[in-house]
């Protein structure tokens, strides 16, 4: 076994070491919920937080960001790019969200590359926190093979002893050269011994049992089930309740659509180009010049989202378009569940096959 074993106090120290040269961002408790927020030190973090209300996506791809500013100089507009590359460390990122970030990495790296995303991403350190059990009833991360991450982090932590947090021990492993270097620089903790090996094996066995199967088909069968269900009645039936509010999009760790607008000063001499999150469930998402809307019906929009999450993104990138975090289900005030839609279509496809 590679990596190190850290005590709780050592983990806190390690995070503070990361924080010495980076802005720390991690789970903070607000009432009954947790949010990723910038903190001054590791002591403020809720390291054992289950899923946060929002994924840490907004720190890499903000809901609204200025891409460039422009100004009139002797009759011509001159533009100045705006790039943010202050180093940050995302702490206690759960496996589902790490899978989400991997997809964003892939999408924003597509030629010619998104300079704004990449500038942030290059300066982002990710310390992952493995899940021993599902965080919420809506999560089907295990069904989507996203409840464990083997790639896409600098360091990954798994809590071993499940006793009091202060007495917990953590297995920590590097997933990148930067992660290796940080561990080496830190130099604390101990090499894992036989007891740790046993604790880790026991945890892994417990984890395999802890995630119930919440999808009624195998993740590999999902794309085919969706393809067969393209003309299903499920879309129109479910869409009767859909507000087209876009909340499911905006909480999703794998949604990456955006809109761009120009803000100008009152005198028209300067301004900025701003991009903001968009979502395919919103009525005007596919509206084009001339007033034509490619998906004017809520049922078409609902199908589009579910198809993308369960099939099209996977086809195009080889990465899961849905990591099963269940946030969209939780955020939908109309109580529309993507998992239930996946299941309904899998069932329909199963009957077709009989």
């Amino acid at each position: 076994m590679t990596g190190r074993i850290l005590s709780h106090a050592e983990l806190i120290e390690l995070i503070d070491l990361l924080g010495a040269s980076r802005r720390l961002i991690g789970p903070v408790r607000r009432g009954d919920h947790y949010f990723y927020e910038p903190v001054a030190g590791a002591a403020r973090l809720a390291l054992d937080a289950p899923q946060c209300v929002y994924s840490p996506k907004s720190f890499l791809f903000p809901p609204e960001e200025t891409l460039l500013t422009f100004e009139k100089e002797s009759g011509r507009f001159v533009a100045q790019p705006v790039l943010h590359d202050a180093p940050i460390a995302l702490i206690a990122v759960r496996p589902c969200d790490i899978h989400g970030i991997r997809l964003l990495d892939h999408v924003f790296a597509a030629p010619p590359g998104d300079a704004h995303y990449e500038a942030r991403r290059r300066q982002t350190f990710i310390l992952g926190m493995d899940c021993a059990e599902p965080c919420r009833a809506e999560a089907f991360c295990a069904d989507m093979s996203a409840n464990t991450a083997h790639l896409g982090f600098d360091l990954m932590v798994a809590r071993l002893a499940e006793k009091l947090e202060a007495r917990a021990t953590y297995a920590i492993e590097a997933g990148s050269e930067t992660g290796e270097n940080v561990l080496a620089e830190f130099g604390r903790g101990r090499a894992p011994g036989a007891v740790d090996e046993a604790a880790r094996a026991e945890r892994a066995a417990r984890k395999r049992q802890a995630f119930p199967k919440r999808l009624r088909c195998d993740v590999d069968e999902l794309p085919m089930a969706l393809q067969r269900g393209f003309a299903s009645k499920t879309w129109a039936q479910t869409a009767q309740r859909c507000y087209s509010c876009g909340s499911c999009n905006l909480v999703c760790p794998t949604c990456y659509c955006f809109n761009i607008r120009d803000d100008i000063s009152l005198d028209g001499n300067c301004g900025s180009r701003v991009r903001e999150w968009d979502g395919c469930q919103l009525r005007d998402f596919a509206l084009v010049a001339g007033g034509h809307n490619f998906r004017s019906d809520p049922a078409q929009r609902l199908r589009h989202r579910v198809m993308r999450k369960g099939r099209w993104i996977q086809d195009r990138t080889g990465l899961p378009g849905c990591v099963g975090c269940g946030r969209c289900d939780g955020a939908c005030t109309a109580k529309i569940s993507i998992r239930e839609m996946f299941n309904a279509l899998a069932e329909e496809a199963g009957h077709d096959g009989d």
Binding site: R30, G31, H33, F35, V53, Y54, S58, P63, E64, Q240, R241, C242, Y243, S244, C245, G246, S247, L250, V251, I264, S265, L266, D267, G268, E276, W277, G279, L282, R283, D284, P298, A331, T333, A334, K335
Partner: protein, 257 residues
Amino acid sequence: MKPRIAIFSLTSCEGCSLAILELEDQLLALLGGVEIVNFREGMTERAWDIDVGFVDGAVSTPQDEEEIRKLREHCRTLVAIGACACLGGVNTLKHQQPPLEYREYVYGAGAKWFPTTSARPLSAVVKVDYELPGCPMVKEEFLHFVKCALTGKQFRLPADPVCTECKKLGNLCRYEKGELCMGPLTRAGCRAICPAYGSVCEGCRGLLGADAVAAAREVFPARYGVPFDRIADRLRLYGAYQDDGENAISGVLQPSR
């Protein structure tokens, strides 16, 4: 020549006109680009050649009706500002009582000297070119409108619901607290100010469209055990008259008269 703009108030709290004064520093920049005429809250000079007239308040008295017709005549572009002027606003609450009763409540023994009509948005009386809804109107949206007017850009109200702004701010959804928020049905543009400060959206910027209303008719009874009528009652608080101009939903929330 600078465009001449004017601001008028009918029956309202004049909060929307005050929102313009609250623009403070931007107001000076604004004054560089336009000429403000006839602004009752800010100055006294009167002139009757107006490019853009902004009107807050509902049409709620015979005088209001006369005034709005006159304003329509003198303003090349007429813009309704605030929930009262766009949707009827809280003025329409008086429709819950017989006219004589509310008039006596407000004017006492002299009630008969103060005739009133039912409270209506401007569009119920004259043609309105643009609406900037909200209670009060969103001052940033007003500024954006003026910029569009000055630069010749097309002005469009946001076509997304309040939820989009709420989520971008990273708020905790009020439904997580068991509260029924009107955000999914309501037009964005206010930066989800009510949920951001911990209360539900009451729909002061008006309904987004027929699709969202149709969804609400399904969702509230079936998923929350709340009859849609109770939701409609809440939406009537600011928006008794609702018609978003492209999906005819007027009639859904109009008071029975």
